[in-house]
Symmetry: D2
Subunit: 426 residues, 4 copies
Amino acid sequence: MSRMAFFADLMGTIFARRAGKPSPFGRAPVTELCEALLSPQGEVSGMQRAREILAQYRAMSVEEKRAFFMHLAMALDIDPERVIAAASRYRETRDAADFAELSRETEPRRQELLRRLNQVPGATEELVRMRCDLLDLMEETPELKRIDPDFIHLFASWFNRGFLVLRHIEWGTPANILEKIIEYEAVHAINDWQELQRRLRPSDRRCFAFFHPAMPEEPLIFVEVALCKGIPGSIQWLLADGRTIVPDSEIDTAVFYSISNCQKGLRGISFGNSLIKQVVEDLRRDLPQVKTFVTLSPVPGLARHLKKLAAEKPEVQALLDAADAKDPSALTSHLPLLKRVTADYLLSAKRPDGLPADPVARFHLGNGAILHDVHVLGDTSVNGFRQSATAMVNYLYDLAKVEDNNENFVTSKTVAASKGVKAMIA
Amino acid sequence: MSRMAFFADLMGTIFARRAGKPSPFGRAPVTELCEALLSPQGEVSGMQRAREILAQYRAMSVEEKRAFFMHLAMALDIDPERVIAAASRYRETRDAADFAELSRETEPRRQELLRRLNQVPGATEELVRMRCDLLDLMEETPELKRIDPDFIHLFASWFNRGFLVLRHIEWGTPANILEKIIEYEAVHAINDWQELQRRLRPSDRRCFAFFHPAMPEEPLIFVEVALCKGIPGSIQWLLADGRTIVPDSEIDTAVFYSISNCQKGLRGISFGNSLIKQVVEDLRRDLPQVKTFVTLSPVPGLARHLKKLAAEKPEVQALLDAADAKDPSALTSHLPLLKRVTADYLLSAKRPDGLPADPVARFHLGNGAILHDVHVLGDTSVNGFRQSATAMVNYLYDLAKVEDNNENFVTSKTVAASKGVKAMIA
Amino acid sequence: MSRMAFFADLMGTIFARRAGKPSPFGRAPVTELCEALLSPQGEVSGMQRAREILAQYRAMSVEEKRAFFMHLAMALDIDPERVIAAASRYRETRDAADFAELSRETEPRRQELLRRLNQVPGATEELVRMRCDLLDLMEETPELKRIDPDFIHLFASWFNRGFLVLRHIEWGTPANILEKIIEYEAVHAINDWQELQRRLRPSDRRCFAFFHPAMPEEPLIFVEVALCKGIPGSIQWLLADGRTIVPDSEIDTAVFYSISNCQKGLRGISFGNSLIKQVVEDLRRDLPQVKTFVTLSPVPGLARHLKKLAAEKPEVQALLDAADAKDPSALTSHLPLLKRVTADYLLSAKRPDGLPADPVARFHLGNGAILHDVHVLGDTSVNGFRQSATAMVNYLYDLAKVEDNNENFVTSKTVAASKGVKAMIA
Amino acid sequence: MSRMAFFADLMGTIFARRAGKPSPFGRAPVTELCEALLSPQGEVSGMQRAREILAQYRAMSVEEKRAFFMHLAMALDIDPERVIAAASRYRETRDAADFAELSRETEPRRQELLRRLNQVPGATEELVRMRCDLLDLMEETPELKRIDPDFIHLFASWFNRGFLVLRHIEWGTPANILEKIIEYEAVHAINDWQELQRRLRPSDRRCFAFFHPAMPEEPLIFVEVALCKGIPGSIQWLLADGRTIVPDSEIDTAVFYSISNCQKGLRGISFGNSLIKQVVEDLRRDLPQVKTFVTLSPVPGLARHLKKLAAEKPEVQALLDAADAKDPSALTSHLPLLKRVTADYLLSAKRPDGLPADPVARFHLGNGAILHDVHVLGDTSVNGFRQSATAMVNYLYDLAKVEDNNENFVTSKTVAASKGVKAMIA
């Protein structure tokens, strides 16, 4: 216990050092500063140079940033000739020194630049934002794409699961963190602090996030959990203002009803799978009465699927027309069809690579969950009508089977589903 | 302030998760487990496989470890042919996808293995120990050397300066950390807790260490500082039991009298330069009355140098004979010679690469310090007599000049020295 | 530093123990439970009895509470005969044992009851709420008033300045604490989280609160501070949305613009004086450029004073009529009069005991501040018009003179004022 | 969880303020300073006066301290005449104001003085030390005894159970706290840090202490616990260097083998009972496999009892002679007698007030424990031979029965004992 406290203190010093110092460098060109930072002396006087580069970067216009990245892409690239030469030598010798040489030649100098920039306190966050800019600029300037593997390589090392810290998010969490939960919630929007309080404060609600020690005020990903009696099928029911709180003694199910990635700059570095499993493990330990772990998930690809179907099937067109009214009662007679079509979509619709067409399905099935149930009138918000004609889905996480499920999914690309869901299309 | 507290809490959860769980894997061969961990499914079921691999590794004999590393070196190596092919393609196209492909081909699979092992809580420490083993085994089995660049590459990313945390070490620090300070002190041994207390508790003493968030109970490097009036020349005087504590109002000098690297497994990842500079900055802020920052350093290469000289110069042989008695008074008549020879050694003795022969000199001059003073009878311990016939040295850190000094040192390999030291050899 | 961390941990255990346990006592009458708690066995089995009494108290109706207090007032009172006997004995003997006996006889048993109730984790907060109830019930049931000195006596010991902890309140403070700042702000209401953010987040704003270790989620009192260039005279200007933030380098003045007591149940236990002085000391240390410490205070007694004057002076009636329009421009021609009358009111209007009539003046002058300036159009909110026809005041805290000022104020009841204010009435 | 962290932070500020400031008061006589502190102005300028009084007190000689206390005893005493008058008035009126007046008259001014001294950060610790001095001086100067009830009254309020914090003491606890555990261990001495480590580090050992928030570096009382398989009868076996650690799965018993009060100045403020019960509750929650909670306790009154018996019974004299050799084997033939006599002593030997003669028995039986077992050769240290001819005792805490046991003990003064112990004297 007190080790933790010692450590808390340890981390605290990060902040003490945050207070920046003015730069002794004038306005040297940023490319020159990059060269200086990469020089052997860079190891010694690097801190201030790195600080200055980051400061200049912050002040750049979009076009200046494009030029900066172009410099990284071109001037700090590898030399394929030298790579080939080194690889050829290693092919012959299999010598450690030759391997080290090959390693050096195949790592672009810009990667070491990013690593040295990171020595400045707070730089990790800035580098994540830098990649955000890169992702935008890459769209129009494909030459910049070759920088991205370097970011990905570094971020995969830096944001390795072993360095992430799982945190409860609750009503007693610092407001500057909570404000970001409001901002980053991507599935079911949180409109104000009262709504946030309803998601965090009741004894039957939980929220967990991953953080990185070098970005302690920035959640990386978070998941919201409702503790329920039984498996719910409606998000409006789950989030209703004035709902009855489930007493501890009646809770038997944990529902993951919202998972949001927070950092666009970390795209491609996947946290969701680890987060869900860690949270399942923690909840099992803290709430042994919880036996069932499910999601209540949207079906974001359904609308498009329905539109395609409608071209051939007039009853689907009728369903779409009814959904267009955003009125639950108008849907009544179409619900059996909606259920069947949704189940069929999730079980059978595939991408060219054979994986499920629905991205949320891909994510949870890829994590080893199974398709457990399909609900109509599950999301009656405007967005719910638009996205899936109100359909929602439960994916079930059974830790004992997650691995086999995943193995099967990777090997055979089959969608594991409950008997109930299979029966829907029978 | 409360952000820090939030964060303290954040880090605390690391420990909560420390409690290991028994493995569901039987005793699958470790190589098979490695393949499984590297498979696409490894991302999902990786945690338990990684745990099992680490558990098996811990239980291995030296020979089993050698075999394990041999597997990493051979089976998980790159294929130079594929590297050459990918580099050739990239040479033509300069296409981002081809660059990404080349990046993949040039990274041995063992590197990703180490990265995936690291997802287990506590694994970072185990991987540092694993490299310790490797460093030993490499001596006899040179084929293993090619694994080391992968460790270095990962550790350089993971232990990036931006992720390290500077901590005061004081008498109120948890005992399990203090115990390691006793264990790791490499320059002037700490024999028991009373001696430790004398180094930490007085108001004119400080100690600082770098930690990594994933190894919160393991210091990486630490430095001991004495706050003095004037620049001292004797380590025995500095550490004397019963000495008078310097009142705050008289302090004008900070003396770095001991710097110890703690983790053999992090060899080649350099922290000393950053640590000294950070500590100088922090002390300048907290104790504005301190104007001078110096070391009191040993001259570990001197004994060998003296022995070489003695072959030609009988007076040096006489000096060595006197030093052999380990009796300060016996040295009296030899002191002027000792001072001159020491200054000369530090100013002029070089390695083949032109850098100073003395390793401590290389370190501090490379950090941008200058050679400020030479003392005889500076270390009258048995070790002091043996290592340098009692000579000690002050290196001076003047932050305003550190960068230019370093620049000069890197460029011209000249030893920057005070007039006083230069005069010693005049 | 790490002592603090140790301690943080220490305090954390409070919460771990918060989770209540069900009571083994049935529904014994609360009076019986009180007797049991006061018995010699009460020391041993007290925890559960105390818990049960508090649980029963929480569930009581107002009339049941009145009965409970009546029991405390009557059945657990002192016996004056025994006090007289013990005092007579002590008068003769001056013996320690007789003094101890007298002490016992003069302390009502209800005081020990409250002390034993406090052993339950979280009880301190409940006892503070219990006194809230008492303060209400005392109004109608004067017999209960004799209980209050026991609460005051205990609270004065428990909430002794030495046990209070000063805390920064900032945007990174836990939301459950911030929510209470919104709730308790008594001077210039905070309407929502955005407004709260404007008071806490800018670099030129501060907020400090006193807490008690046994009530870590309940601020006792807090003060809001604006860091300014020069002394401001308008609260609307100070709190304007979109105002320019004062750069650190231009700050020279700290303005205490709002002080709010949070706990009605602690009425009569005074924290404001200590809080202001502690904050002045802390700001002087952290922001040495701040030379001036003033308040921007309301004049709550002014409206009543004006009304009295208006009976005799038609120009004051005209001023009041103009103020009634709640329109700053309507006041224009009355401002010189308002300024003069306000200054005169503060300098000369007295209570029967000779102290200033205005309660805010009494508070700050009693703390050793002086009346520094008077502003018209200082508070143009509806409340400002109503309370003081827009007048506001600066009280100046000069720590070097605070003591002499206080001494003079206590002795001579003179209002210390700046030349400027004195000139207003000349 | 994060509330805890917030709070940790909250407490941290205590230390920030520790750094004392020089006093503005010259060397005013301490009695004058006391008057000033007690004056109405004392509320405002009290902090510095209080600081100066404490500083002067620290510098006093024993005789000066005696004079200081004499001043408290005489000049700051109550006036019995005024108490009698006030009590008489209250007897007539039963009026709240008269009760308040009586309360004021019966509280010596020295009590308010102590309360005002306590506002200085760190003063609580100094006042506890002040009472240490008083306890010593009272021996020779009985007039001072009348001050003690004021200290007791304040300390009973300040150190109320509700304000104490239970802490794990472990090998990761700050060294400055651990050093005090070594110092204060009063039952089985801890000779050095290695021995301390043996008591704290093994997984089958625990240590808990109570702290007060205002004295975070000073434990008030601590208990050492061994987790065992079965109930042990020998302290040497329990503390043996090199003993086998009991695996978690085999633990069924928690043994309280050492309880030490740390603060002489808090004599008469009892913490032991609360501590044991809190620890039993915490261990039951954290280690549900532990079913039995016992002590392994000394019998400090046995030696005296044996000596008395020996006068009449030659076999007891023989036993004493054998014990005098401090040699276990010499005791062999006397062990049955020793066991019987010890059991008899604990069951039957009484003080004049009817309570057990043995102080440790009084403590545990008074807490509601029962006498569970008697062991010979339980403590074969020199002290064990001297104190109890090696006998030791287990007292059993059964939380379900603790209350009834205590009730019986208070009412009937009967020693509750197991059948086994009763059979020993049959």
